[in-house]
Each structure stands twice: as structure tokens, then as C-alpha cells.
């Protein structure tokens, strides 16, 4: 197990929730109600992540992603099952475990709002007891990966969202953690900033061999960073494999684009196992003239969408 950054075995998490009643009368009833129902947020998830791996941890909203991340970071205790992060049980020695993980939540910042970025870095250096030499090397590495000069002395509250996210990612790596959790790091960013963030994550992962667990709804992140993806839905793991395998997940889908007589493009999703592409074209040709044809691999986004919509189960 030494070479595994993260191991989960049959992890389940249940929540007890009060059954709320409707209306004013119901609200008053709820004050005294003992009527609880159990919701299973995570059901029997097993997972192993090797050191230095970047995995995409995907799932529709409410699938149980955040709950899993909270268990991995030690904030939540699993109802049953086993979790080991860097060989340790995260919720038992939370303070100690925190020294070896980094987190970035795209919608929140851990930086000190009114202070220049460099002060947040120094504070984190002291909080995590990073030796001065290691800290300086890290800042040097940051300089080589991104242009930090314009932001290093800027108060965080004056930063654009992109600069702030970039800073938050740098802050999460300052103590050189073995594993970093990135929760929607590119949310709300423009195309070029997204590219910068992705390059930075890739660079840090390569230089420091940091394990990265990435949750996102942006398939561009997944395509750029992850070789392996794990998908959960309704608390269950439904996919755990390479991104290449994903494309053949429900047969060999391809998208057929046809330029018709009136210069409009028509696109169709075709399963090559059940339908013959040539046949489709021939059929179409009987009705109208086809000026141009393009055949494309199905995009990750489309596959994921199909999985979320429940065609896999």
C-alpha cells in the first residue's frame, strides 16, 4: 500500500435527515418530530489512487462528490468502510493529516482577504512549518511556471477571479502536500485563464509528483489533465478507467456531420455497432444532396452527458 496515495474500501456514508412537513402546521409539528429518514450519500465506493496520478472525479450535481471529498480530507467520518490517505486514517488524526493535503475550492478562498498575496504565503509557510529553504525553492518553482510578479504584492481583495484562483492553487501547494484536492478550480474563468490554470496544475504535478484529485464539470479540464476518470452517480461508482475506454463505453459512438444542399450542417450520433455509417449516408442521399461529410469521435462531454442522463445503468 506504500505507493498508494489514497485507498478507499467499501466506503459508505449515511445522513439522518428530519422529515419536514408542509405548511405552518407542519413546521410546528417538525419542532417535536422524531421522524428521521436515512439518506445514503455514498454507497460502497472503493478506489485506489497511485502517487503522482491526476484523477478526474466526476458526477452530476448531488451525486456524492463533495461528501466523498470531505471524507477524504477527514472532515467527515464514513459510516462504514475504510479510508487511508498517505497511509493514515484521515478523520482520526485530522490535524496531522492536514499537514499532508492541500485543498482548493473554486468558489471559496483560503487567502487572507486584505493582505498582499505574499503575506498569505508567509503565513501558510509558518502554519505548515515549512523550512525556509523549501519555501524559497517553491516560490522559485512558481516563478518558473507562472508570471507571479503582477500578483505577489497585490491584496487578494483587489484580484480578479482568475488571479485569485491561481493564487489559491499556489497557496495549496506551498507546503508540498502529497495529495491535493481541487474542487472546480476553473469555475467562472475565461478560456485563456482556464488554460493557464490547467498548465499550472500539470506543471506542479509533474515537478512535485503530487497526487491530484480533481472534481469538475468542465470536460476541458478532464481532457487536459486526467488520464483516468472516476464517475459516481447516486452515491455509487459507475465508472473507473482511462479516458480512452470511456469513449467506447456504450459501443462505438461517432458523430456524423453532413453539409446538405441548403448549406446547413446536420449532425447525428451514430452507434457503429448497430448502425452502418455508409447506410445512413446513402439513405440521406436519396432525399437530398450532400455537399460535405465529416466523421468525428464522440467528445468526452457527450459521453459524460449520456452517462449522467442514465443510459449506462
Amino acid at each position: 500500500m506504500e505507493d498508494q496515495a489514497l485507498v478507499m474500501k467499501n466506503v459508505c456514508k449515511d445522513f439522518k435527515v428530519l422529515n419536514r412537513h408542509e405548511g405552518l402546521k407542519g413546521s410546528i409539528q417538525d419542532l417535536f418530530s422524531r421522524d428521521y429518514k436515512t439518506i445514503s450519500a455514498v454507497k460502497d465506493v472503493s478506489l485506489e489512487v497511485a502517487r503522482g496520478e491526476i484523477i478526474g472525479y466526476l458526477g452530476p450535481n448531488g451525486a456524492g462528490k463533495s461528501t466523498t471529498i470531505k471524507m477524504m480530507t477527514g472532515v467527515l467520518e464514513p459510516t462504514s468502510g475504510e479510508i487511508l490517505v498517505n497511509g493514515k486514517v484521515p478523520y482520526k488524526n485530522r490535524t496531522e493529516n492536514c499537514e499532508n493535503i492541500g485543498v482548493v475550492f473554486g468558489q471559496r478562498s483560503q487567502l487572507w482577504w486584505s493582505l498582499p498575496l505574499i503575506e498569505s504565503f508567509k503565513l501558510l509557510r509558518d502554519l505548515y512549518m515549512v523550512p525556509q529553504q523549501q519555501y524559497e525553492d517553491m516560490i522559485e518553482l512558481y516563478r518558473s511556471l507562472v508570471d507571479i510578479e503582477p500578483i505577489i504584492n497585490k491584496p487578494v481583495r483587489q484580484m480578479s477571479l482568475g488571479q485569485r484562483t491561481l493564487s489559491d492553487i499556489l497557496a495549496a501547494f506551498i507546503h508540498n502536500p502529497a495529495i491535493v484536492f481541487l474542487d472546480e478550480p476553473t469555475i467562472g474563468l475565461d478560456v485563456s485563464m482556464k488554460d493557464k490554470i490547467r498548465a499550472l496544475i500539470k506543471g506542479l504535478n509533474k515537478e512535485k509528483n503530487t497526487t491530484v484529485i480533481l472534481t469538475t464539470h468542465d470536460m476541458g479540464d478532464v481532457d487536459a489533465l486526467c488520464r483516468r476518470i472516476v464517475i459516481i452517480d447516486k452515491g455509487m461508482k459507475i465508472y473507473d478507467n482511462d479516458i480512452e475506454h470511456l469513449k467506447g463505453y456504450f459501443g462505438s459512438y461517432r458523430t456524423l456531420h453532413m453539409k446538405l444542399a441548403d448549406d446547413t450542417w446536420e449532425q447525428m450520433l451514430i452507434d457503429e455497432k448497430t448502425t452502418d455509417v455508409m447506410q445512413v449516408i446513402t439513405e440521406k442521399q436519396k432525399v437530398t444532396k450532400i455537399k460535405d461529410i465529416r466523421l468525428e469521435e464522440i467528445s468526452t462531454e457527450e459521453v459524460i452527458k449520456k452517462i449522467y442522463e442514465g443510459e449506462a445503468v
Binding site: V75, E77, C98, V103, W112, L127
Partner: protein
């Protein structure tokens, strides 16, 4: 508990509160208005009583006490309840929970810097003004050192009360009402708004055992060298009282927090 971690938090806190220095001036101005009100209120009380000394305190004694209590209040005031309820609602609390320190320690030291700043920016100026106006009514000696020690104790007691109330708010999910109740209870029973000497005997007997007295009454009594606090025999029971409540409240607060933290982390995606 490594001092490097803790002082780093104090340092950042100082820098952050210096950033909002305008707030300090507003506080000083608001105090001035409040104290004018207090002045006329107590002037009327003394005038109607017909004697110079009420409950062992002259008008000047009472005023000095209340002025210092007000500036001590500015210094001790914490916003743990507000800040925590906000960070629970936004889910930001997870970032604080993931710092490599115990949450209570982290919170306490995060606030420490702002206390240092407000002590220097509001308490010391007020103290000097009182000294000038009363031409040295406050004794200047070892009592200043004892006062500082008991103020630090008061700070810890107050932090613990705040943390316990903040933890209660996790369950009620509403902050406003409970916070107002807490503030009123603390200000009244600690002797911050009315000196404890004015309390009816029976109520006084109860209040004497409650932790609130450790927050305002004891530090001010020590500073003004009242109730025999100028002797070691008088001083030690006061420090003992504060220390005892620190132990009790820290233990209770820690247990309550550790039990409750498992529940709150459900919130927020």
C-alpha cells in the same frame, strides 16, 4: 502547539486590523457619545440619591469604572458568533477546519492580532484621557501588571463563552437572537454596564459565582485597586476565580465543539 504557528496568526491579524484603521476612529467617536449619555444618567442617579457615596462608590469612581469598562468592551469584543455562522452558511468553514491546527486554537489566535491592535488603539488612549481628566485617579504601580494578566484571562474566558454560544448556533441555525441574548447577559452580569456594587444583595450573591464577572469586573477591580486587590490575599482569589472558569469553560467548550463539529460539516456543497 508550536509558537511559530500561533505568532504567525497574531502577526497577520495585526496587519489585517491595521488595514481597517478607520474603524478604530469610528469606535472612539461612538464611545464618546455613549459616555456622554452615561455621564448624565449617573449624574441624575447621584443627584436623586442625595448622598455623595452610593454603595461605596463616588460619582467619580463610577464614571472611571464605566469609562474603562466601555473601552475594555471594545477591546474584548469578539465576533466569533457572527463570523462562524457566516462561514458555515457559505461553507467556508471547511477551509478553516483543514488548517493544520485544532479549530479552536486556530480561531483564538486568528483573533489575537485584532485584540492587540484594539488594546493599543482604543484602550490605551482612553486610559490616558481618564488619567488626564481625573488628574491621576488611577493608581500607577504593580496593579497595571496584574491588570494586564487578568485582562488576558478575561479574554480567554470571553472567547470560551463566544465559542460555546457559536456552537449552540450550529443547532438553532439562527444567530441574531441568541447573540443579542448573549451580549445582554454578558454585559449586565459582568458589570460592564452597571458596576456590580450596585446589584441587589441576593442577585450579587449569584453573579459572584458566574463566569461573567471574570470578564469585566475582575480586571477593572484590579486596575482600580478596589476590594482589597492591592494585597496578595485579595488578588489571588480573583486570579483563582478566573483560572478556574478558564479550565471549566475550556473543557466544556472543547467537548461540546468536538461533538458538534461532526454535525455541521454536512452543510455546504
Amino acid at each position: 502547539m508550536n509558537p511559530r504557528k500561533l505568532f504567525a496568526l497574531t502577526r497577520a491579524g495585526i496587519m489585517e486590523s491595521l488595514h481597517y484603521r478607520l474603524g478604530t476612529f469610528v469606535t472612539l467617536f461612538a464611545n464618546l457619545i455613549y459616555l456622554v449619555l452615561v455621564y448624565y444618567l449617573w449624574k441624575a442617579i447621584y443627584a436623586s440619591s442625595g448622598v455623595d457615596v452610593v454603595n461605596g462608590m463616588t460619582f467619580t469612581d463610577t464614571m472611571i469604572y464605566l469609562i474603562l469598562a466601555t473601552s475594555l468592551f471594545n477591546f474584548l469584543e469578539m465576533f466569533v458568533v457572527w463570523d462562524m455562522s457566516r462561514s458555515i452558511q457559505s461553507g467556508k468553514i471547511i477551509l478553516d477546519l483543514l488548517k493544520p491546527l485544532k479549530f479552536r486554537t486556530y480561531t483564538f489566535w486568528s483573533y489575537s492580532g485584532s485584540h492587540v491592535v484594539s488594546f493599543i488603539m482604543t484602550f490605551i488612549p482612553t486610559f490616558i484621557v481618564v488619567m488626564i481628566i481625573t488628574k491621576g485617579a488611577i493608581p500607577m504601580g504593580l496593579n497595571l501588571v496584574y491588570f494586564l494578566i487578568s485582562t488576558v484571562f478575561a479574554l480567554i474566558v470571553n472567547f470560551n463563552i463566544e465559542m460555546i454560544v457559536a456552537t449552540i448556533c450550529l443547532y438553532t441555525e439562527s444567530t441574531w437572537g441568541i447573540n443579542i441574548v448573549k451580549e445582554t447577559i454578558v454585559l449586565l452580569l459582568s458589570g460592564a454596564s452597571i458596576p456590580l456594587a450596585f446589584f441587589p444583595e441576593k442577585l450579587r450573591a449569584v453573579v459572584d459565582f458566574l463566569p461573567f464577572r471574570a470578564v469585566y469586573d475582575i480586571p477593572l477591580t484590579i486596575l482600580l485597586e478596589k476590594n482589597g486587590s492591592d494585597t496578595l490575599q485579595g488578588l489571588l482569589p480573583m486570579f483563582g476565580f478566573q483560572a478556574l472558569w478558564i479550565v471549566i469553560l475550556t473543557a466544556a467548550g472543547t467537548l461540546f465543539w468536538n461533538y458538534s463539529v461532526k454535525k455541521i460539516t454536512v452543510n455546504g456543497g
